[in-house]
Amino acid sequence: MNDSRLDELLNAELDNELSTDEQQELQQLLETSDEAAAERRTYMKLDQMLRDMPQQLLPAMLHQRIVSGARLPKAEAKTRPSWFGNLWQSPVTRFSFAAAAGVLLSLAIFNAGGPNIVEAPSSDMLGSMVPTQGDSVDLIDRLQLSGAGFASGATLLQQEEGLILSIDLESDTPVEITVDFSNSGVQPTSLSNASNNFEIANFEAPFLRLRGNGQRKLQLSLSRIGDATAADAATIQLEFSSTGHASQRGSLRLSH
């Protein structure tokens, strides 16, 4: 056994690329050679040090510099009857639009036990996006919120199967999220992406409560309840249980 082979095995171990045979080969080496064990500790330490490197904060104004300077292809002229008329040809779309008629999804982030709820600046609420025909997935609206130690996004999608609400979270501390569907005319029917789901997901109408930290993601299928056309609002609230940071509130809106 040479050093090169040992390095190769140790690198493969770091990347979870060891085969069963290689695992046994490495294990034998580690048990019989103090040098091999020391080398392994060195690689592990290097790997951890790289992972522990601090994230750099985005420079002030960089976002605005990019937004103000970026150019997109010229927008296509669109008229409401065109997309609406075409979309309306699909029974799935017809049903989904009926279910979601007038739905307003509000998303709020606030501290546990803290009355300090602050409206997010309107510039953070990027507004509604009207579905267009031809896409397998239509983005209806998306809201992104961020604060000290967390970033969260909520997206309302129209898919063939119906309405989907996708929630993703990245947080340094445990976060509790309450999704409020009061008066929305829709409610969650199933969760997906369970492999990286929140630690707790509990639905007691009209509230869905989630808890997690780190990187979390889930998708909710939404179904119609009651008289959707009479409903005009739904609220999603995200509650932070252990941090004392200022809170934010925004909304997702579907209109037609």
């Binding site: 390095d7 190769e8 690198n11 770091l14 990347d15 690329e17 060195t42 690689y43 330490k45 290097l46 790997d47 040090m49 790289l50 992972r51 522990d52 490197m53 601090p54 994230q55 750099q56 985005l58 420079p59 960089l62 976002h63 510099r65 990019i66 937004v67 300077g69 970026a70 150019r71 997109l72 292809p73 010229k74 927008a75 296509e76 669109k78 990027l126 507004g127 996006m129 267009t132 896409d135 997935v137 239509d138 983005l139 998306r142 992104q144 996004g153 997206t155 999608l157 898919q159 996708s166 993703d168 993601k217 998708q219």
Partner: protein, 181 residues
């Protein structure tokens, strides 16, 4: 970001929707900036590269191939921009690459900030190809397949570059006394 959401946003951008553009930007600007910073070791240069990369991506969004991921595309543009920036500098700031000192410095006590600085300095001593795989793997959380797609190289090459880069980092950090060999 979920692939379906990302694709829907790209399609909106292709239709000229600036709201979708801003949403994509918001999701990716921080990791892209961090990747640029680790490639360049300079905040101002990283900001310039980030800005340039996004502006090019959005300007050319119509040519985006939806078979790929947007993040792979923006990282590839960023890496190319960063390497161009380094070449533009004429590598004047590159630390002189010495042969590995067989008599590595004794391990010394250093705080987290010093370790971070030492690692960044060691990163800058790597060649661009090796630094790119380390940056994408450790600072952009890309797996082999994603790095391969971003850099347009085979996964086998990703693996070998990562292997070589770690070896070099290990030796250089030992030389600086961060840990013993």
């Amino acid at each position: 970001m979920d692939k379906a959401i990302e694709l829907a946003l790209v399609k909106r951008c292709q239709q000229g929707d600036r709201k979708a553009m801003e949403l994509l930007l918001t999701d990716y600007e921080k990791p892209v900036y961090n990747a640029a910073f680790r490639m360049l070791g300079n905040r101002d240069d990283a900001a310039d590269v980030t800005q340039s990369a996004f502006m090019k991506a959005f300007e050319k969004i119509a040519s985006f191939n939806s078979a790929h991921r947007f993040f792979s595309w923006i990282y590839r543009i960023t890496m190319n921009e960063a390497i161009d920036q380094l070449q533009h500098r004429g590598r004047m700031q590159q630390v002189d690459v010495e042969l590995v000192d067989e008599n590595a410095a004794p391990q010394r006590e250093v705080d987290a900030s010093q370790v971070s600085d030492e690692i960044q300095a060691a990163l800058l001593e790597l060649n661009d190809d090796h630094r790119a795989v380390i940056v994408l793997h450790y600072f952009s959380d890309c797996n082999y397949q994603q790095i391969a797609e971003t850099l347009d190289i085979p996964e086998k090459t990703v693996k070998s570059r990562l292997f070589s880069a770690r070896q070099q980092l290990k030796l250089r950090l030992a030389r600086h006394g961060i840990f013993s060999l």
